[in-house]
Structure formats: structure tokens, C-alpha cells
Amino acid sequence: MELKPLRVSELNSYIKKVLGSDPILNSIKIEGEISNFKHHYSGHMYFTLKDEKSRIKCVMFNGDNRSIDFSLEDGMKIVAEGYVSVYERDGCYQLYVKNIKKDGVGDLYIKYEKLKKQLEQEGLFNEINKKSINKYPKRIGVVTSSTGAAVRDIINVITRRNPTVDILIYSVHVQGIYAKNEICKGINHFNNREDIDTIIIGRGGGSIEELWSFNEEEVAREIYNSKIPIISAVGHETDFTIVDFVSDLRAPTPSAAGELAVEDIEFMKERLTNVNGLLIDSMNRLIQNQKEILYSYRRSRLFTEPIYYINQYKQRLDFQFKELITAKNTLLNNKKNKLENVRDKLTGLNPLSILERGFTYVEDNSKTIVKSVLNINEGNELLIHFKDGNVKAIVSEIQKKEEDYNG
């Protein structure tokens, strides 16, 4: 039995019912770019939302669009909330928009700025808390995707600069819902080990949504609390994520992270060679100095002409001997002179020499020498001594000399 054909309106009505019974289509959020925007005089807005491949017709009625606080125009990226249904008269389905927000990306920038400000105020970005990076690590932990260019770049740069370094890669999702927790677990894992010197966390370039895990508060705090220094290498040179501010060092690219994490081994070799050269040079110099001191002793007169010193002493001895003799002679002469002087004096004082000159001396009865006429009287017996004998005499007369008055 043949089914009776439906009429067009019946078809469109049926389609509307089908669409209306779908829960997803009844409440849906669509992001897209506005084109063919028309704001009807009735107040209703008609436009098309499109992405790179496809488009859908949209309508936003007067009652709903009054609350929009920004102007809509072609080219603008938005997120539209509403339901999908059929405009029966024209047989086309469209998006009936109840609510419009500027593109979610705009929201993300706001969120980013807000969190950045908050964490900055808390002090999570302070330079003073940043740890310095050891240029000679033995083992580096990398939290990143195990596939892709970022991990390859990091490994290549590190092994080129210093092939002795161990690299441990903790594999994580770097975007999507699992990323945030996995990144935290990676940082945690390395911190719980005793052998990791530096951690690199990073990924390749992408949009703000793709990099969003590196703007998450939990990741920032995990980095801040890390005991091991962390280098961040997220996206391209111009990409900045919260992780870049809170890490101990930011690398503009994953390759740069490799350079910041290890010293070039050629430079290390040079430093080593230099210091070894200095070691040997300074030891040689020291030995040379000691040798020269020793040789200078060998060249000294004490070794080559010791007789010189003996002669010096001999000479001194001779000199002293001469001095001794001279001194003795001088002493002796002095004594001689003194003696002669005394003898002359003595001779001068000898009373008997007076007698030679014709003088006499007189003694009285008691053998006392008479020096004054006052000590004798007439009639006394006196003994007069001449150089060649004595004379006994009796005082017949005394004549006293006149006194002179000259004080």
C-alpha cells in the first residue's frame, strides 16, 4: 500500500518537532564569527555565524538582544547561546540566539590578567624567591609531552651542550582537561626524588586556549612550592603564561631552556684546562723560587771563600791586640809620670834640701821645731841645725818684727 505523500508544511513541521525534541539542540552554545549582520528596524537581529568550514543562520529577537552591552558587527568572534529550530515558512533551520558573549577567548584574557595580578600581589613572582640555576647539573627533569618538537628540541640542545647530563622526561598532556593535574604530578614527582638538579616545564606554541594549562593557579602554586629550581619554556618567544612569571627562570623557547639549563661542555673543558695550566705553572714557579734561594746560598761567600770570614776575625784579633798593647803602655806611662811628679814634689818638700840652700831650722829643748820668736825666751837653749852639723845656742836677745796692717 502506498504512503500518501506529505505536504511541504507537514514536512517542515515534522522537522521542527524532531529538532525540538533533541535536548542538545534545545540548549546549545556556539562560537563563531559574525557575518551579514543586519539589525532590523523591528529590533530583531539577523546574522550568520561561521567558522572556517561552515555557517549557520542566526536570529536574535528584540526581547533578547536588548541586554547586549556591546555592538555587534561583521568579523566579530562571539559565543552564542540558544536553541536550534526550523523557520517553517522558509524550510531552513537556524540558531535562535537568547544570549551573546564576546568570544570565550576574551574571557580567558580577563581570567589571565586577574590571576596574574592576584598571584603577583601574593608575592609568587618576587625575584627574591627565585632560585639560581646550577650550570652543571647531573640530572634534569622535564615535564612535557613525550611527543612533539618541544621535547625533541630540549633533548637535542642539552645533549649537544653536555652529553654527560641525564634527562628524565615525565610525560604529560600539555593541553586539555588532564593537563593541569598531570603537570602538577610531574613537578611533585621530581621534588620527591633526591637526584634531580633542575626541572624544565614546557610545550610548543599554541593559542591561549591551548596554552591554558600553564595559566592554571594549581600549576603556579606547585611551581612556587618546588624545592628544585624550575625553568619554564612555554610556547614561542612572545607567549607569556603565568608559569613564566612564577618559575625561577623563563626561557623564550624549549631550545633556549636547554641552553639555560646546562653550560656548554667546551666552555667547561676550557675552564678546566686553564685552571690545570695555572696549577702546574704556579707549582713550577714555587719550585723555581726555592731553587733560586738555594743556589744563591751556594754562590755566597760563605761557601766559596770561607777563609774571608776567618781573615776578618784574624784582623779584628790583631787590631784588638794592638789596642791592648797601646793601652797597657799608656797606662804604664801615666803611672810613671804620676810617680815622677810625686817624687819631685816630695823632693821639693824635703826639709833637708832647704838646708842645702843655706837655711837652718831651730829646735828647742823638747826637740820641737821653733817657728816663731814668740815661742822662745831669752836664755832658752836652742839647737840650730845646719846642712853639715848642729850648733847649741843660748838666746841673748829677741827682736820681734813690726806687724804690718794689711788686713
Partner: protein, 78 residues
């Protein structure tokens, strides 16, 4: 995961530089100078060995939901 490397390169080369300083100031007796020099040469050899002979290993770490960690050699040939 590789043997524990006792003296870090940075420490060793710093000690070496200290020894050179002491030798250059020249206040040491010959005996202590010889001792320091010997130590210096030993440190140099250690450092040189570290950068010439040691080979770094690259490993991949996978942690599952229950915190079980698996380490394996990394073979990304990307």
C-alpha cells in the same frame, strides 16, 4: 638509574681553583705545596673524566592514576 656521582663538577673545579690560589700566594712550605698540588691534579683528573667519559641517559617516566611510576628508555625519534 646510573651511579651516584659523589663530587659535583662545580664543587670540584672550585676546589681546584682554590688550590691554585693558595699555590700562587706562595706562603706554603714545600711539603704542603706538594700535597696541594697532588690534590689539585687528582681533582683535575676527576673533572676531566666526568666530562669526557660519562654518558648521560635519557629516560621516559610514566605515572599512572595510582601513582605507580614506570621508567623506560626514551626513544622519541620525532
Amino acid at each position: 638509574m646510573g651511579k651516584e656521582k659523589e663530587v659535583k663538577f662545580e664543587e670540584a673545579i672550585s676546589q681546584l681553583e682554590d688550590i691554585v690560589d693558595r699555590l700562587e700566594t706562595g706562603d706554603l712550605t714545600i711539603d704542603s705545596a706538594i700535597d696541594e698540588f697532588k690534590k689539585g691534579i687528582q681533582l683535575y683528573n676527576k673533572c676531566y673524566k666526568k666530562i669526557e667519559e660519562t654518558e648521560g641517559k635519557i629516560k621516559l617516566i610514566l605515572e599512572d592514576g595510582e601513582g605507580i611510576v614506570k621508567e623506560s628508555d626514551f626513544t622519541n625519534i620525532d
